[in-house]
Symmetry: C2
């Protein structure tokens, strides 16, 4: 029994938000490349950013801004140039972007957060940006989420969006999100970006905690190629326009909101994994029986990120040994005699030993063939148990195909 | 001025060793699959083994044996079945192998170390093994290293061997090694294995320290696909037959021996990376300016293991942004303003900012084309500096090609 249901509208589903996306001439292709999300009133703002030592100017800017004040009115995002490894001039460009948008919206420059995605080492093309900002402001609409979702894409094949509604104290509260990303990183076409809006009233400290925890269970649990970007950013706004009671401390209402927020982030994260470069399917890994949740998540991430397992899934080979080996090297202690591996409904390993499968009995061949057939599904589910502990966790990835190599070998200077 | 020179002979180059390799019928292909290395006298023995929680029976056996007594007479290695995830019966098979070989050689069973490589979850085929052991003993020869090197291979395209000679107190000392491995792991055709022989006289404690440090600078610095095996083993014997003075404490003579040992291990490790599944070239990453050597090695490993950078090298794309991004996510703090990236002789990034390269100036195009041309070399050298520290380190990998995906998607049950 879910405590929320899905609704249309993306980041403009919650009350008091507008969004827009336009083609400002930043991408050589002429595709939409400038997105804007605006809250009618000042919103509480929380963020989670890349842990890389090589960071984009927008990441440094947002981190500093949110440390000084956990609130914002607008998020501006350009696609085409990552503005990473661009030094002092890149920083100046980010600051100028906030000033131009602040003027166009009639709000302080420091109420603006910024994000960039595109080629590392390239500054934002400032001439088209200066001309584009008034246009994107003019295009703002309470139905503009889809346009914004398209304008933040780079190598993405599909735009990614979700909105959920739940109730707090009997009144509706909504959370919406859009994101982009087709690899954890594409250093020339960089980045995972996610923007979440919410109309709940909540204290900044609680909101940042919820957003960080939700990121740990979602965006931090996906991997396409193990490469973390210079620009990775999740920014989440909560503007209080639902007029529901303010959430100022942990409790059932806070838990309910966090559950919906986590669901939004998981949906977006899975959409990124499914749209991974060259992917033909989504891989979901569920780990249970670990000493704690973080240990389970670590094992799940390692399996989802194993190049050998990913290649086996692409080849539709029910190669349980690669799952067991990846679990074993995750850096988390467990007794190998307790290892249990299941692929969909097929139990492949129990008590650390393979079940009859490779052996020349007719039933084993039938099982191998059926498991291979299962791998042709759109979503491949791997369930692993490592003992009797209460820790559990999930991770998502995609298979490793010829197209991944093609995209990244031929995406050339 | 090197303190050693290369000599032929592999693991039988040092005095007092014999080796052999035969086809015992363990591999379905009928290729050589049983190798044996024997020291004429008891040798000091040191080992470094996989850190995976899922370990082969042979790994558990050797670790226990070496803890009880750091000495051995023989190393027996089968290829075809990894004897990993095989439970109590797998352990019994490993023990029986040592007993049969001990009888055949007329030595105690506990003077035998064992290693396995092949399909995870498959026990060693004991019938052919029992018949094969007397044959491989009969084939022992002081020129048998090449046969042994071939018999430990699985998906390897080439056998890998080296021997060096140096002098201690004016007398020759030799170190030889063979290894196998074509990925850090191939869970169905598992493992990196390396066997090193030496005729120096050295104390067990010092020898284990040297072997561990040499492994950290060599085998632990290579990556083909980031997957660590269930069977990874480095076993090194030192039998004292050079009749050189016993090395019992650190000092110049110990340093000299360790330098040669490290060179042997690096040669073997690079040979594995160059023979990585689907590889078209060897990638060598040199990192300097870090706070310490381990930090530098960590950055080097991360760059060498980046799927995106590896794919760029396969595409002969001088994509410096992927090198910078990989360095940034290595988990090692540094100032991005100090980052310097060089590809061969081409300086691509300095002070954390790209040098003119992507820009439409004729000289930049010429530089890009020349750097792309450089990537066609058999060995690609990446040099990265992250600051003013004294820490440095190297790592090796290979490019990510269509054939990697093909080998691992089509290597099927």
């Amino acid at each position: 029994m879910s405590e929320w249901h899905e609704i249309p509208g993306g980041v403009t589903a919650p009350k008091g938000y507008k969004a827009a996306g336009i083609a400002a001439g930043l991408k050589p292709s002429g595709a939409p490349d400038l997105a804007l999300i605006v809250s009618d009133v000042e919103a509480i703002a929380a963020g989670v950013f890349t842990t890389s030592q090589v960071k984009a100017a927008c990441v440094d800017y947002c981190r500093q801004r949110l440390q000084a004040k956990a609130a914002a009115r607008a998020i501006l995002c350009n696609a085409g140039q990552a503005n990473a490894a661009t030094g002092a001039q890149g920083w100046a460009d980010a600051v100028e972007s906030t000033e131009i948008l602040g003027q166009a919206l009639g709000i302080p420059a420091d109420a603006v957060l910024v994000a960039s995605t595109g080629v590392i080492g390239q500054r934002i093309k400032m001439e088209p940006l200066r001309l584009g900002i008034p246009q994107v402001v003019a295009a703002l609409s309470s139905e503009g989420s889809d346009q914004a979702a398209k304008a933040i894409c780079t190598t993405d094949l599909v735009a990614k969006t979700i909105a959920l509604e739940t109730t707090l104290d009997g009144r509706p509260v909504r959370i919406g999100g859009i994101c982009k990303g087709s690899g954890m990183i594409h250093p020339n076409m960089a980045t995972m970006l996610a923007f979440v809006t919410c109309d709940a009233m909540i204290s900044p400290h609680l909101w940042q905690q919820m957003v960080s925890r939700a990121a740990d269970k979602s965006f931090n649990q996906i991997t396409v190629d193990g490469d973390t970007s210079t620009n990775d950013s999740l920014i989440a706004l909560a503007n209080g326009q639902s007029r529901t009671p303010a959430i100022t401390e942990p409790g059932p209402e806070a838990d309910k909101l966090e559950a919906a927020l986590t669901e939004v982030c998981m949906h977006l994260a899975k959409a990124i994994a499914r749209d991974g470069e060259g992917a033909t399917c989504l891989i979901e890994v569920r780990v249970s029986g670990a000493t704690d949740d973080e240990a389970a998540r670590q094992i799940a991430r390692t399996i989802a990120g194993s190049a050998l397992f990913k290649a086996a899934v692409f080849g539709r080979d029910p190669n349980w040994g690669r799952i067991a080996a990846a679990a074993g090297r995750a850096g988390v202690p467990f007794e190998q005699d307790h290892l249990r591996v299941q692929l969909g409904d097929f139990l492949l390993m129990e008590n650390g030993q393979p079940l009859p499968f490779d052996r020349p009995a007719a039933s084993a061949y039938i099982k191998a063939a059926a498991a291979g057939e299962y791998l042709k599904a759109d979503t491949v589910l791997v369930s692993v148990s490592v003992g009797g502990g209460s820790g559990s966790g999930m991770a998502w990835g995609c298979d490793l195909s010829y197209d991944y190599v093609k995209i990244n070998a031929e995406y050339t200077t």
